[in-house]
C-alpha cells in the first residue's frame, strides 16, 4: 500500500486539522486519546469552551509540572487548568450538558464507522473482558455533532470505514464527519462524501483503503 506520492497525517496532524474547523463559541467535548490533543491547536484568542465529563466547563492548557493541582483533572484523569470563565459542576449536571444536547461538538476516537453514521469505539467483541464504555455512549447520543478522529485503516491495513460496523456499536447513526490520517469525510444520506484528501492522495487509492463506497461531494 505504500505510496511515495502522499504523506498521511500523524496523530497530532489529525488533531490540528480538526481544530481548524471549530469556530469560536462552541462548547466541545474531546474524547480520550487523539481527540484530547485538538485543544492544543485552537488558538487561545479563539474562544472555544472545552467540557469534560467530570464536571469541568472551560478547560485551559495543561499545567507546568510544578503547578499541577491534584484536584483538577480531565476525563482522562490528566492534570488540567481552568480557563478564566470556567464553571465546575457535579457528574449528573455534567452529563446533563452532554446528554441534553448542549454540546455543539464531541470529538471521539473510533474503531469503526459505518456509512450510515454508526459508531463502534468501545469493544472488539461482545464478550471482551475489557469493557471501556465510559461516557462515549452518552456523548455520542447527546452532542449536536459527533466528529471522529481516527486512522483510516488498522495497523494491519484493514478498513475502519465500512458499510456496517462489525464491532459492538456505541451508537447508531450519530457520526457527522470523520477526520483520518488520509482524508476528511462527511456522513451523508448516500454514505461517505470525501471532503478533503491529503496532498498527493488520489480518490482511487483512498477508496482502496475504505470498506464502503466513497462519493465525491455533490
Amino acid at each position: 500500500m505504500a505510496d511515495a506520492a502522499f504523506k498521511p497525517l500523524d496523530r497530532l496532524g489529525i488533531a490540528r486539522r480538526i481544530a481548524q474547523d471549530i469556530p469560536e463559541g462552541w462548547f466541545v467535548n474531546l474524547g480520550i486519546g487523539m481527540p484530547t490533543a485538538v485543544s492544543d491547536y485552537v488558538p487561545v484568542d479563539r474562544e472555544v469552551i472545552f467540557h469534560a465529563e467530570n464536571g469541568v466547563i472551560g478547560i485551559g492548557p495543561a499545567p507546568a509540572p510544578e503547578a499541577v493541582n491534584p484536584y483538577l483533572v480531565n476525563a482522562g484523569t490528566h492534570p488540567i487548568t481552568l480557563r478564566v470563565g470556567a464553571a465546575l459542576v457535579h457528574h449528573a449536571d455534567s452529563f446533563a450538558i452532554a446528554r441534553g444536547g448542549h454540546l455543539d461538538l464531541c470529538v471521539l476516537g473510533a474503531f469503526q464507522v459505518a456509512a450510515n453514521g454508526d459508531l463502534a469505539n468501545w469493544a472488539h467483541a461482545p464478550d471482551e473482558p475489557t469493557k471501556q464504555v465510559g461516557g462515549a455512549m452518552d456523548l455520542a447520543v447527546g452532542a449536536k455533532r459527533v466528529w471522529i478522529a481516527m486512522e483510516h485503516t488498522t495497523k494491519h491495513g484493514h478498513a475502519r470505514l465500512l458499510d456496517q460496523c462489525v464491532y459492538p456499536l456505541t451508537a447508531k447513526g450519530v457520526v457527522k464527519r470523520v477526520y483520518t490520517d488520509l482524508a476528511v469525510l462527511d456522513v451523508t444520506p448516500r454514505g461517505f462524501e470525501v471532503r478533503e484528501m491529503v496532498p498527493g492522495l488520489d480518490f482511487g487509492t483512498l477508496q482502496a483503503r475504505t470498506g464502503t463506497r466513497l462519493h465525491h461531494p455533490t
Partner: protein, 218 residues
Amino acid sequence: MIDKFVSSLADAMAGIRDGSTVLLAGFGPGMPEPLVHGLIEQGARDLTLVVNSGGRGEGPLADLLATGHVRKLVCSFVRGASVAGHLHKAGRLDVEIVPQGTLAERIRAAGAGVPAFYTPTAADTILADGREMRTINGRHCLLEHALPGDVALIEAWEADRWGNLTHRDSARNFNPIMAMAAALSIVMTRHVVELGAIPPANVHTPGVFVHRVLHVPA
C-alpha cells in the same frame, strides 16, 4: 470573543415565534419582569407558558395573560381570583396543572436529555386520570414527559460575557433548570461582572445554558 450581552430589550426578545413554549422562571423573586413586558411588546402569540403559578390579578404575569397571547398555561396552581383563573373559567385559556415537583423535574429532564420518567407523585389522584401508570417497587407511578421550552426567560443577579450566572438567595428557584431546558435562554441580570469574577465552583447557571443576556440595573 464570546459576548452574549445584548444592548436592548428588543434585541433580547428578537425572533420569538408564534406558537412558542415559553418557560418563565420565578417564585416570588426570580421572575424577570422586564422580560415579560418585553415578550408582550415583542408580540408573539399562541404561546404555551410554563410558570410555577398562574399569578394574581395584577403584575407582569397578569399583564401577559391579559394580552390573550397565551393559549395554554402549564403551572402548579391557579388562583380563582386571578387573570388566569378568570380566563380559564371563561374558556379562553387552557390550563394544565402539574404538581410543583413534577413540574421542576420535567423541566430539568428536558435540560438533561431525559425524555420521560416515572414518579409516584399524583398517582392515584384525578391528575392521573387516563394517564399511563406503572407499578415500580410496589409503588404506583405516573409516566411524565420532559417539558422543554423554545424560550426561557431567566433572572440573574450577576452575569459575565460567557453567560455564567449567579442567582441571589431564593431567587434561584426555577432559573437554572429553565435555562437548561430551553433552546433560547434569555437572561436579565442585575449586575455585569468580568469573566472570571464568579468563582468556577460557585457558578449557579453555567454559560452553556445561556444565549442572550440583558443588563437591567436594579
